[in-house]
């Protein structure tokens, strides 16, 4: 595994360089915005990566909370299966399809709904016990980094196109900022709380925080906003050459996010190993002190 990391790092660096070349040189210039639209190749993949990481954090947090009791774990398993099956069936009912915004395909919604049980069982299988909590903190931290990039590149793009840095009251922008604040508070809670309940509290906060992700994503489908309407799968049109570059750029950022998460995961394991060593040392020290004080107390009688 240790050998795999440098190989993957080199491959990811090549992919990122290729995506940068495509974004700056190969992708055609936008007729309305000119070259500044090329920010999309960093802004949108960063947003999608952040959403994916927060989604994984949500799944890991649910699993962590559910794994506290065997009965809760079984109940959660059946609820997730019911969400998957019920969600897919509902997507193809005419009454539900009428509620979907124009351009949103039922098959795309069904695929997204199916991702919930798929991720739930995959995460449960590969990250048992305390590793769920390690995965949760890893994905939250790396997700915050990507979300920060979205919040920084967004205003830089907005200034030349809209004439303003930020549109106060815009639901897409506000909900993204709220999402970032929720996950920053999640990290602050984990960093500064030493209570035995910290992991449980953080997991509960993550579950509520994740509810903001669909609001961020669907806000431009359901509300009129300053932020542009979706150009992919939302009835909008995007030049296939631009879409191709966008998807390659996302793939490059996904590989990069995977490597960063891998490093952060190892860091968290190392941190916990050291904490355990410290706890063991304290325990041994306390026992030795207790033994040493025992003869003294006897002799003093």
């Amino acid at each position: 595994m240790k050998r795999l990391f440098p190989i993957l790092s080199v491959l990811t660096a090549i992919l990122l360089a290729y995506a940068l070349y495509l974004a700056l040189v190969v992708a055609p210039t936008d007729a309305e915005q000119g070259d500044v639209y090329r920010i999309i190749y960093y802004h949108v993949p960063s947003a999608w990566t952040a959403f994916l990481l927060f989604f994984m954090n949500f799944i890991a947090s649910i699993q962590y909370l559910a794994s506290r009791k065997p009965s809760t774990k079984t109940a959660a398993k059946w609820i997730v299966i019911a969400i998957g099956v019920g969600g897919v069936i509902a997507c193809f009912l005419p009454q539900v399809q009428q509620l979907l915004p124009t351009g949103m395909r039922p098959s795309a919604v069904a695929t997204t709904v199916l991702a919930i049980p798929a991720f739930y069982f995959l995460v449960g299988k590969f990250f048992p016990g305390e590793l769920l909590d390690v995965l949760a903190v890893t994905t939250a931290e790396v997700g915050v980094v990507f979300c920060t990039i979205v919040l920084v590149t967004g205003p830089i793009w907005a200034r030349p196109v809209w004439g303003i840095w930020w549109a106060p009251g815009d639901i897409r922008l506000t909900s993204t900022l709220v999402l970032w604040l929720i996950y920053v508070s999640y990290l602050v809670l984990r960093r500064f709380s030493n209570s035995a309940q910290t992991q449980m509290l953080a997991a509960a906060l993550a579950v509520f925080g994740a509810l903001d992700v669909p609001l961020v994503y669907f806000s431009i489908w359901f509300f009129r906003t300053q932020h542009p309407q979706p150009v992919i799968g939302g009835g909008g049109s995007m030049d296939p050459r631009m879409l191709h570059v966008l998807l390659i750029s996302w793939m490059a950022f996904l590989c990069f996010a995977f490597l960063v998460c891998w490093s952060r995961f190892r860091l968290e394991l190392l941190h916990r190993e050291i904490e355990e060593e410290h706890a063991m040392e304290s325990l041994v020290g306390a026992r030795m002190a207790a033994k040493a004080s025992l003869p003294l107390s006897r002799s003093s009688r």
Partner: protein
């Protein structure tokens, strides 16, 4: 031409943020490795 400034600002900002985060990870790794070494010496 003026808009190009914004394009490069966005790309540079992205890599600065990633760079700062990667540097913080590297710093935390080296600190933990040092602690682990000290714990090993104590035994």
């Amino acid at each position: 031409m003026n808009a190009i400034k914004f394009l490069f600002a966005a790309y540079i900002a992205t890599w600065v943020i990633h760079g700062v985060y990667l540097a913080s990870l590297a710093r935390r790794f080296s600190r933990l490795r040092q602690q682990l070494k000290e714990l090993g010496k104590g035994k």
